[in-house]
């Protein structure tokens, strides 16, 4: 299989599925408007529209506000337009996913490009970690010139050089596990179809492997987690990558919990469980109490599917470095560190905030320890748990990761607004994380697929642009390059 011939998919403009997309600004047009069409003419973003002699502000969400170079509010001859912030916009989001980050991700999912202005699309407002790190780039023209077509952002996942598949992903990210049951089949299909188009993978999570995913087997990672829900010999044989989930960042050291309401007949069949009863995925694997036990698990997968790559997903305790080395010696190809601030499903707030450390601390620790042990180039290190933007990807790679897993970003592309109510009642009211028959039909698979493709194509473009600025031809050159980063709290004044 020659994956190098992978064709990058095209961006197809894919607007919001709702009538009124949410923008940062609101433009109001008063009765004074004389329909001269001046605003339609000068707006670079297509905010205004003229039809049969009437001018309408159709796409106010695209307005970049004060960043606009040809502001319609000033150019209007009768001053009929007024601009103000959208109050709804300010009720959205939180410290990590600010309203700006949400809206810029929606822009990328619609257009495949980063926003033209008005929105901060690189960092959030958490006041630490990624949000205090900045990329240190040579001034334009200073780095070695690199052609865009020369830049490689792909990642080889098998670095052990054993008899398992040689797998390369074309973009430095793949989809993290979200189970059938926690999200709808529409969401699952959208993510997997997008992964397949982008030349990467997407994980099924712990909830079985629905038959609908069969056409995309070569892009599926199936998860073996503590509840072993939906794990069968046949599903292990079907895929190229198998992921062991020991723990997850959002609730490290705690099991998974699917509320009874979400156990619909379809979910129950898939998980071989009873309709309407809650399902607990225990913690930990009761068959694993040591690295030796873990090796037994890995060997078991290799006996069933000798060519499968084995990924080990762990959370980030103090001794995460030892866990990573242990996983390597047990035969894993990928060590996947899930930091404490990520996660998509429901989890106790006390766990999300307090248990285990943020990925920004864990990853450099693991990277350094693997180098000391002399095995860093034999294992692929994947980071997840709070990766929101292409800049986060570049930063965590510079801290020592080979690639990342995404989760929340995919959902934001599908217009998740992070209301945090995934678990209540019928599930997500916006049809993303639900198994309710009516609500899940709010998402059309084609639409969802294209939104996710667009978002990640925009990420890819940003990463290529960053690498070009750094004078690097491959993302591999950026791995562990902490000299390309500056932390604002420790920044020295320029001489």
């Amino acid at each position: 299989m020659n994956l190098n011939s992978h064709k990058i998919p095209d961006v197809v403009n894919t607007p919001s599925r709702f009538r009124n997309p949410i923008g940062k600004y609101r433009l109001s047009r008063s009765k004074e408007c004389i329909a001269c069409g001046r605003c339609v003419e000068i707006c670079p973003y297509g905010v205004h529209d003229i039809k049969r002699g009437r001018v309408l502000t159709r796409n106010a969400y695209r307005c970049v506000g004060p960043d606009c170079v040809t502001p319609c509010i000033k150019e209007c001859p009768v001053k009929a337009l007024s601009l103000r912030r959208n109050p709804t916009f300010d009720t959205l989001g939180d410290y990590r996913w600010t309203p700006d980050l949400l809206a810029s991700s929606w822009h990328m999912a619609e257009t495949g490009n980063v926003p033209p202005g008005g929105l901060e699309y690189r960092v959030g407002a958490s006041g630490g970690g990624f949000d205090k790190l900045r990329l240190l780039l040579p001034l334009p023209g200073k780095a070695l010139p690199v052609e865009e077509s020369e830049v490689d952002v792909g990642v080889d996942l098998n670095r052990r050089n054993d008899r398992a598949h040689r797998i390369r992903i074309e973009v430095p990210f793949y989809g993290g596990g979200m189970s059938y049951g926690s999200v709808s089949i529409m969401t699952m299909l959208s993510r997997i179809k997008a992964a397949s188009a982008l030349g990467t993978f997407c994980c099924t999570g712990e909830g079985g492997y629905p038959d609908e995913l069969k056409p995309y087997d070569d892009h599926v990672i199936t998860q073996v987690a503590t509840g072993l829900f939906g794990v069968r010999e046949e599903t292990i044989k079907r895929v190229k990558i198998v992921e062991f989930k020991y723990a997850q960042g959002a609730k490290p050291g705690l099991g998974g919990h699917l509320l009874g309401d979400k156990v619909t007949p379809g979910v129950a069949r898939m998980r071989e469980a009873v309709v309407g009863f809650p399902l607990f995925s225990p913690f930990p694997f009761h068959s694993v109490y040591s690295v030796e036990d873990h090796k037994k698990h890995v060997d078991w997968i290799k006996a069933i599917n000798p060519q499968a790559l084995v990924s080990v997903k762990v959370s980030t305790p103090t001794d995460v470095d030892m866990v990573a080395v242990g996983s390597y010696y047990a035969g894993a190809h990928i060590i996947h560190l899930d930091g404490s601030y990520g996660g998509t499903g429901a989890a106790p707030d006390i766990a999300k905030k307090n248990i285990a450390m943020p990925i920004e601390y864990a990853l450099p620790k693991v990277h350094r320890f693997l180098i000391q042990e002399g095995v860093r180039d034999k294992i692929t290190v994947i980071a997840s748990g709070g990766i929101r933007t292409p800049h986060d990807v570049a930063k965590i790679i510079a801290l020592g990761a080979d690639g990342v897993c995404t989760g929340t970003a995919d959902l934001v592309a599908l217009e998740c607004i992070r209301c945090h109510n995934c678990e209540s009642g019928r599930g997500c009211a916006r049809g993303i994380a639900t198994t309710d028959a009516e609500l899940m039909n709010l998402i059309d698979v084609e639409w969802g697929t294209q939104r996710i493709i667009n978002l990640f194509l925009a990420w890819r473009r940003e990463l290529v642009r960053i690498l070009k600025r750094l004078g690097m031809k491959s993302l591999r050159e950026l791995v562990g390059r902490t000299d390309c980063l500056v932390h604002l709290d420790y920044m020295k004044k320029q001489e």
Binding site: T88, P138, I350
Partner: protein, 465 residues
């Protein structure tokens, strides 16, 4: 194993509509009267169940809205909007934040631990206990059938003095005198807060809860009136300064608290004489002198020291010093002195969430005392109108004792379950072993600089992005 400690919570509804972070603004003007209005299609049926509370003049809609924004995004005339609620933002202060207050309300109402989807929404880290994470264990689990299983995690701790060793005679009979100690099933005591629209009925409710929970309520001695007689075994009165003349009126009490003064030893002796069988706790302000004073008290055989931090969880005399650092240093000093295991250390001041309980214990306390959370459990908005002599917007003084007790009981139920969550993840099965276990904690100061401290150089000819 001893019987498992369980707090059986049941919902205790709010008496007033809670203040919400945002509100719905829906205009009527320009409405097209669509046959299938977005309001009718609300997933949570918020508009259908809408009502006006005539007493409070509050529209119930904001309390039911789940912020999915489908109506906002669906209305063809864009007549529906959401807007942040300034009243919510102005709740409390910088320590007792609107978010903390709202979380305490919800826990007291439902008895359930706060759970939400879609990752952690808060800041990266912060001051005090926010600069701390608790550890987890990848493969080791303290119990074999889950944290709520039969093989349970114990949150019980002892208050009082444990002897260094036991002495037996030749016949194998115990010779040592066993000092007085009390065990409580949850490492949280409560104290009547320093302000609040509190009535005798409120205090009775808190005392009821303390007894049901098996913990203690600390209160100024003059508040411990006759109506609390049934709960005396679970009260810990705070004695006035000075010598105690007689133990009259203090019968039936198992514990008392004594404020620290320069002449604490005389006062302590008078209390010991008057109440020979009671556990005596000395109340020490958490300030610059705390370490020396705590050492002196411990050397003199005081069995329990209560360190009281400020209203916002800091040193009493220095706002830049966090309680966690003082606790760690006092705990260490007592260990170095070799007397840590012979006394009990409890901490109070600004402790607001279940995570603070676990973190204070990790820093060296045996147990904690909470004050304002038991008031916020009663819907207090921390508006301080009562301090100015104005009426309480949620009429706390009128609440009946059983309701007060069930709200606080629920709050403790939620705290207990959250303690089980963090202890379970840490692989710790007994709250007594959590104390001072900093190996199961991670601190910002120890993590941030080693990772990022060297990332400070901006080379010439480079720019930041």
């Amino acid at each position: 194993m001893p019987k498992k400690y369980a707090i059986h919570t049941k919902p205790a509804p709010n008496r007033f509509k809670a203040i919400t972070p945002s509100g719905i603004i829906a205009w009527e003007e320009g409405c097209l009267k669509c046959a299938v209005c977005v309001k009718k299609r609300c997933v949570y049926r918020v508009y259908e169940q809408r009502g006006l509370d005539s007493r409070q003049m509050v529209d119930s809609i904001d309390n039911q809205c789940m912020n999915c924004l489908r109506c906002v995004q669906g209305c063809p005339k864009e007549l529906i909007h959401k807007s942040s609620n300034p009243e919510f933002k102005s709740l409390g202060d910088t320590h007792w934040t609107p978010d903390i207050i709202a979380k305490l309300w919800a826990q007291a109402e439902t008895g359930k631990i706060p759970v939400s989807g879609a990752g952690y929404p808060g800041p990266f880290s912060g001051d005090g206990f926010d600069a701390m994470w608790t550890d987890m264990s990848e493969i080791v689990r303290p119990t074999r059938d889950g944290i709520h299983g039969r093989e349970y995690i114990s949150t019980a701790v002892d208050l009082g003095k444990t002897p260094r060793h036991l002495v037996f005679n030749e016949k194998g009979e115990l010779q040592s005198r066993i000092p007085k100690f009390l065990d409580i099933p949850i490492p949280v005591l409560m104290r009547v807060p320093s302000f609040g629209a509190v009535s005798e009925e409120t205090i009775r409710g808190w005392a009821m809860a303390a007894k049901r929970l098996g913990t203690f309520l600390c209160l100024p001695v003059h508040q411990g009136k006759k109506h609390l007689d049934r709960y005396r075994s679970h009260l810990m009165p705070i004695l006035p300064e000075g010598l105690l003349k007689s133990g009259r009126g203090l019968r039936g009490l198992r514990a008392v608290e004594l404020p620290w003064t320069e002449t604490w030893d005389e006062a302590l002796n008078s209390v010991r004489k008057a109440m020979p069988s009671a556990l005596i706790s000395v109340h020490l302000p958490l300030d610059k002198a705390v370490k020396q004073r705590a050492l002196a008290l411990a050397r003199a055989g005081v069995s329990m020291i209560h360190l009281e931090g400020s209203y916002s969880g800091r040193a009493m005399d220095d706002d830049s010093t966090a309680m966690k650092d003082v606790l760690r240093s006092v705990h260490r000093a007592l260990i170095e002195e070799g007397i840590r295991d012979e006394m009990t250390l409890v901490a109070s001041g600004g402790l607001a969430l279940a995570e603070h309980v676990a973190k204070a214990i990790l820093c060296g306390a045996d147990a904690v005392v909470i004050d304002f959370p038991i008031l916020i459990a009663l819907e207090c908005r921390m508006c301080r109108r009562c301090v100015k002599g104005l009426s309480c917007p949620v009429e706390i003084e009128k609440a009946e004792a059983p309701w007060v007790a069930s709200r606080v009981y629920n709050l403790f139920g939620a705290f207990h379950n959250q303690l089980l969550e963090v202890m379970g993840a840490m692989g710790i099965r007994d709250a007594r072993r959590l104390r001072g276990e900093v190996g199961r904690a991670m601190f910002f100061e120890e993590l941030d600089k080693p990772v990022f401290g060297t990332l400070g150089e901006v080379k010439e000819g480079y720019e930041l992005e």
